[in-house]
């Protein structure tokens, strides 16, 4: 482990945003926003530099306090972590720019909202810390940081619906992290280590390990709003302010997915069975259908987008059954693993861009109309060409039409499904896409329809629309560097691996 090069970037990626967050606390509205924006830009720059560092030197580590695991904590930035950090930075910087303009525009009506910037920078630090962490307990602390920030941001508007949704979200988040921590306690008790790398070597199958896997998975499923624990997501995401909704759905839920992926692939291989993968895949499949259907039935824009998140997160869960190999299949012969991983990563990234753009557009529409009932979207094209375009482009990526990132994700998922012979997932993917197409085209049809009556479209800063559009375009542009990105990811230890579940002693790990 120590042979990896040591780099200061992992420590800076966590430290800098927190430093700027505390600094911004000392200023009032305008000054806070300025310091916050500078902090966001600096963090983005740092993330890009760190990304370049990983591209040049490969995975780097940072041994905190100079104490090596198992006693100390290690931060590890491998290509997978670098991609997630880079994604957070790219999406984050656009949302920051949007938020800067958005709160300036709100200032006239509400006198500005304090605390967005410190909380968002803390959240960013938490996300970076999570992607870098290589320690089970440290992961708990980072998800708590993320959880508290996320809920605090979600209730910033102070409306009672937002508060109620926020409390539900917070209780779900605490329950999830406690369940996760119970698993960590059992793992520590049975192995005496918390370091992911060491755990992968020493963890032995058995009742305790299987149960720990079960509670950790349940906890993380609650955190990432996997079916049937998705109940908190739509109200929380739809009642938050636009930049916050974008952050929550684009970035926050991905954190729990990242841990789940890492733990299943790197640590719990010994206890995973084919059935466990199938179970989690079924949960994902139900989420895809249920979420898309619910989105189709909604009449307000933000609720549509929020329910669509449930569905899109379902696709992420559907990657797992492909990565857990059937008994008798070896990782070498499974040629679909790389496709499945690509599908997962691309789904994460394209969803982050598209969904952020969608929520930001919804925020623009609310700002222009004062509400987001979809009947009022009539003649959106005539009034706000750019926003309509952003919604269209982001929608196309969500559906998975070529040449978007969403298409890449769904195509690779289908490829993996057919190569692995698990054809039963294919109808779900297609049905999900059809339903998504249903609500996206419904929105677009309204946007192009002639206005029945004069809706009072208030003027909205152009720059807001541009940022939303740029994010939407981002979900297309990520397709172009696909080859080099995959190549880069393949130098990560975990990317492209699968779990062989032959003759593993554990009972079924999931229900």
């Amino acid at each position: 482990m120590t042979e990896l090069p040591i780099s200061p970037y992992p420590a800076l990626l966590v430290g800098l945003p927190i430093l700027m967050a505390t600094l911004s606390l000392f200023f009032r509205t305008r000054g806070e926003a300025l310091v916050g924006l500078i902090g966001a830009l600096l963090t983005t720059g740092l993330a890009i530099m760190a990304f370049v560092e990983v591209v040049q030197r490969g995975a780097v580590i940072h041994i905190l306090g100079g104490w090596e695991p198992p006693l100390g904590i290690l931060l590890r930035m491998d290509p997978l972590a670098a991609v997630f950090i880079g994604m957070t930075a790219l999406v984050g910087v656009f949302i920051s720019l949007y938020a800067w303009r958005y709160f300036r525009a709100l200032e006239t009506t509400t006198g500005g909202l304090p605390l967005f910037w410190p909380l968002w920078l803390f959240l960013w630090a938490g996300l970076n810390g999570l992607f870098l962490s290589n320690d089970l307990f440290n992961l708990f602390v980072t998800i708590e940081v993320i959880g508290i920030c996320a809920v605090a941001l979600a209730v910033l508007s102070g409306k009672s619906t937002a508060l109620s949704a926020g409390l539900r979200y917070l209780l779900a988040a605490i329950t999830g992290s406690m369940a996760y921590l119970f698993g960590v306690a059992l793992i520590y008790g049975s192995t005496g280590t918390l370091d992911l790398g060491l755990l992968g070597q020493v963890l032995e199958p058995g009742t305790t390990t299987t149960f720990a896997l079960l509670v950790i998975t349940l906890g993380l499923m609650i955190k990432m709003a996997g079916f049937p624990f998705h109940f908190w997501l739509p109200p929380a995401h739809s009642s938050a302010l636009a930049p916050v909704s974008a952050l929550l759905s684009a970035l926050v839920v991905k954190g729990a997915f990242y841990i789940l992926l890492r733990l299943w692939m790197e640590v719990f291989g010994v206890s995973l069975t084919y059935a466990a993968g199938q179970f989690i895949g079924i949960a994902g499949a139900i989420a895809v259908i249920w979420g898309s259907w619910q989105a189709f039935m909604q009449t307000s824009l933000k609720l549509i987008v929020a329910h669509s998140s449930v569905a899109q997160l379902g696709y992420l869960l559907m990657v797992f059954p492909l990565l857990i190999l059937a008994p008798g299949v070896t990782a070498d012969s499974a040629d679909w693993l790389s496709s499945a991983w690509t599908a997962g990563i691309y789904q994460v990234i394209s969803h982050a861009f598209a969904k952020a753009s969608f929520f930001l557009s919804a925020g623009i529409i609310i700002m222009a109309l004062g509400h987001d009932r979809i009947e009022s979207l009539r003649d959106l094209v005539g009034h706000m060409r750019i926003t309509a375009m952003a919604i269209g482009i982001a929608g196309v990526s969500l559906i998975g039409l070529p040449p978007s990132g969403g298409f890449m994700a769904k195509w690779m998922l289908l490829k993996g499904i057919f190569l692995s012979g698990q054809w039963w997932w294919a109808p779900v993917v297609l049905a999900g896409s059809l339903l998504t197409a249903g609500y996206v085209f419904m929105l677009l049809r309204l946007a192009f329809a002639p206005a029945r009556e004069k809706e009072p479209f208030r003027p909205v800063p152009k720059s807001l629309e541009v940022f939303a559009l740029l994010l939407a375009l981002g979900s297309f542009l990520i397709v172009f560097p696909a080859d080099s990105l995959i190549q880069f990811l393949e130098s990560s230890e975990v990317f492209g691996t699968g779990v062989e579940s032959i003759l593993k002693g554990g009972v079924h790990g999931n229900n």
Binding site: I6, G15, T22, L64, N138, T208
Partner: protein, 328 residues
């Protein structure tokens, strides 16, 4: 013989936990929860975790208990009436409602029972992990302190502790996010009682001294930044109760400075040594003891400030007038 105490304590803990959730009145619930926290603190002592016991008693039972009690003042009076109304209403409604509720409840109980059985088997059959005692013992001399828990908290796993100080600050920011930054008003229900004022004034220096003692002793025995911070925070809360809102005397910038001091100094010190050496939070062994003491002191100040501010802010979230129309 001694195992009997543990069994009794375990049964007591489970009983209190159950009862605090099942109690029909909210105030009972909160008091039983208080008792549960204290039972848990006893359990920590039985398990040789004195640091945890102090932390639990001070922050989980003490601080949180105060927050809950303060909340009770708000929730409680209506709750008791409502409960009585509810029982009379329930008798007429229960037939109809129980049918729809029976199945999910049964499923919940069955599911939890099954879950409990697996959980019990999992903790019963846990393999010997060995823990990290040996590793901590070997490296203890290099850590700069003599008490292993302090060594882990502030040196071996300083990163976690740093983030945790951040979480306390975040907790305060989150409370601000709910109610707006309004810590500068006068406290609600300040005691105008002369006796209470005197007692508070008597306890203030005692608590301060005891906190300082815990902070200093943390180097070699149970104690440290968190326990000291909570005790100092208790001073702020007590003074607030006594009608002396210390927090409102502090100018805004100083308040924020106190709140962020621990977190920022911890980090800047880490960055300083990172610039000189390789890694964040890597202290030279010769100075580690002193640096840890400084970091702990500042952290304790920040924790105390944050807890006081959390309490002061929550104290104001009183429902101004019971809105009878909102109540069905």
């Amino acid at each position: 013989m001694s195992i009997l105490i543990d069994i009794l304590l375990a049964i007591l803990g489970v009983y209190l936990a159950m009862q605090s959730l099942l109690a029909s009145r909210l105030s009972q619930s909160v008091f039983l929860f208080f008792a549960f926290g204290l039972a848990l603190a006893l359990a920590w002592v039985r398990l040789g975790a004195v640091d945890v016991a102090i932390t639990e008693a001070a922050i989980a039972a003490g601080f949180l208990g105060v927050l809950f009690l303060d909340a009770l003042r708000d929730f409680s009076p209506r709750d008791t009436e409502e409960q009585q109304n509810l029982t009379t209403v329930q008798n007429s409604l229960s037939r109809k409602e129980s049918k729809s509720l029976l199945l999910p409840r049964l499923a919940l109980v069955l599911g939890l029972g099954l879950f409990l059985l697996i959980a019990l088997e999992a903790v019963w059959k846990i393999p010997e992990g060995g823990g990290l005692t040996a590793a901590a013992e070997t490296l203890l001399p290099e850590s700069g302190v003599e008490h292993p828990v302090t060594a882990v908290l502030l040196n071996f796993r300083a990163y976690d502790t740093w983030l945790e100080i951040g979480v306390i600050l975040l907790g305060l920011l989150a409370v601000f996010a709910v109610g707006g930054i309004q810590i500068y008003r006068k406290p609600i229900a300040a005691a105008d009682d002369p006796l209470m004022r005197q007692v508070i004034l008597f306890f203030t220096p005692v608590l301060f001294l005891f906190g300082a003692f815990l902070l200093y002793i943390g180097k070699s025995g149970p104690g440290g930044a968190f326990q000291a911070g909570v005790l100092w925070g208790a001073i702020g809360i007590l003074l607030h109760f006594g009608g002396i809102p210390v927090y409102s005397w502090v100018p805004r910038w100083l308040g924020h400075l106190l709140l962020t001091l621990g977190l920022v100094f911890f980090l800047l010190l880490g960055f300083l040594f990172m610039a000189a050496g390789d890694n964040l939070f890597e202290y030279p062994p010769a100075y580690a003891g002193l640096l840890i003491l400084i970091v702990e002191t500042l952290a304790a100040i920040s924790i105390a400030a944050a807890l006081t501010a959390i309490f002061a802010n929550l104290n104001q979230m009183k429902k101004e007038q019971p809105n009878d129309t909102a109540q069905k």
